[in-house]
């Protein structure tokens, strides 16, 4: 399968590096300023070392990557809120050409789910977005396998940075600011950690899950009124003092930032959970629990972020798609 990769950061770069091992070839890759296109297949190593040395992937205009002859477009540009551009337009341009799109970018799926589904319905191409929720963990595909109409809720730890901070606070008896500084030194938290610690990132993932649950219960696509970040009930972890974790520990519990998605909506906030419960993962790990109609709870855990981890979810999606021409 021929891939065009938009975004050459940790995820896009890892897709370029790993595609060959999955039997695919990358014919184009673009960063925000340039593109490299080779319809015979790009040399991953050459592109990566050029990016490292010069900061750009190639000499072509990014537009050249969108125009390349590919089967699947991989949208891995940074998540943007609101109109979710340029990610949204990148995906619709692929769909207009009856090509598939695989997203690692949460923006278009969380913020414009209805528009995305309508664009998909008008195309021979399909849209998959496993990588947008919990990195390497196959949440969307498990939901599809179980049947989203048979899942009443999805809950879990969906942000590794917040989970790292809370688990270190509990384990070391340290305060939020101290652990956050440590996380920033280690590269676990970004210089501006608000997206993670205020719960926005976890909420976007829950909005995506809530829409999948909602869609499965609707009669037709036009009648789905998508959940959105604006409707979500979101609290972060900034205000949690170390003393809260101490009091929780005395009681055999601890605090985790838990996201909950149901067909009715989204809630994200710090919650008391048993210290040894299935949702109490440590460090940057993620965990997701599906509440199923006939099989109780199904719990999946693993790495929720990282270049190769997220790229593995992208490439699994690519494997689920057949080139339109071969159907």
């Amino acid at each position: 399968v021929r891939l065009a990769v938009l975004g050459a950061g940790a995820v896009g770069g890892s897709v370029l590096e790993l595609a060959g091992a999955y039997g695919h070839e990358v014919v184009a890759i673009a960063d925000s300023e340039t593109a490299a296109v080779d319809e015979a297949g790009l040399d991953a190593e050459a592109v990566t070392s050029r990016k490292a040395a010069r900061g750009t992937v190639g000499d072509a205009d990014p537009e050249a990557a969108l125009a390349a002859d590919y089967d699947v477009l991989v949208e891995a540009t940074p998540t943007t809120l609101g109109d979710a551009e340029p990610g949204f337009s990148n995906v619709t341009r692929a769909l207009e050409r009856d090509r598939h799109a695989v997203l690692a970018n949460k923006g278009p799926v969380a913020e414009r789910f209805g528009d995305l589904r309508r664009a998909e319905a008008a195309s021979a191409g399909r849209v998959l977005f496993e990588a947008t929720v919990a990195g390497a963990i196959p949440v969307c595909s498990t939901l599809a396998d179980v049947g989203p109409e048979r899942v009443s809720a999805v809950r879990g730890v969906l942000n590794g940075t917040a989970n790292f901070v809370l688990s270190r606070m509990a384990a070391e008896g340290l305060d939020y600011e101290h652990v956050l500084a440590e996380a920033q030194d280690m590269g676990v938290a970004e210089a501006d950690p608000s997206f993670d610690v205020e719960g926005t990132d976890a909420a976007l993932k829950c909005v995506i899950l809530s829409n999948l649950l909602r869609e499965a219960r609707a009669d037709d696509i036009a009648s789905v009124s998508p959940a959105s970040l604006a409707d979500a009930d979101v609290d972060g972890i900034r205000d949690i003092p170390g003393s809260a974790l101490e009091l929780a520990a005395e009681d055999g519990t601890t605090v985790r930032l838990i996201g909950e998605a149901t067909p009715d909506g989204v809630r994200v906030g710090p919650r008391l959970v048993p210290e040894t419960g299935p949702l109490t993962v440590s460090g940057t790990k993620n965990v997701v629990q599906l509440e199923t109609a006939h099989a109780g709870q199904l719990t999946l855990g693993g790495r929720g972020a990282g270049g190769p981890e997220t790229a593995s979810a992208v490439l699994s999606d690519v494997g689920r798609l057949t080139p339109v021409d071969d159907r």
Binding site: R155, S243, A248, V273
Partner: protein, 98 residues
């Protein structure tokens, strides 16, 4: 949530919540009596931790005994009182609570 004996004949539920913020400065006694007044719950245990003194953010753990099926309403009432007092509630995650 643990089921406990809350009287001679009836069983109740027990739930634990944390209150964080200026728990002491915002008059803890008043907060607790308002919680009891606005719910059918009874405070069965209280732990307070204010390592940086009472002027700084501190935490309280409240164990509330309530009637069966009233846990959700109790948590909602605690949330209401906490909001008025500028405190944050950390609720237990109960299955199916979403």
């Amino acid at each position: 949530v643990n089921v406990v004996r809350a009287g001679a004949e009836r069983y109740g539920e027990e739930l634990t919540v944390l209150l964080v913020g200026h728990v002491v400065d915002s008059d803890l006694t008043d907060t607790l009596s308002r919680i009891e007044a606005s719910t059918e719950a009874t405070l069965s245990d209280l732990s307070l931790s204010a390592p940086a003194g009472t002027d700084d953010a501190s935490s309280a753990r409240l164990r509330l005994a309530t009637r069966p099926g009233r846990a959700e309403a109790t948590v909602a009432a605690v949330r209401g009182v906490a909001e008025e007092k500028g405190l944050t509630v950390i609720e237990p995650l109960t299955e199916g609570s979403a």
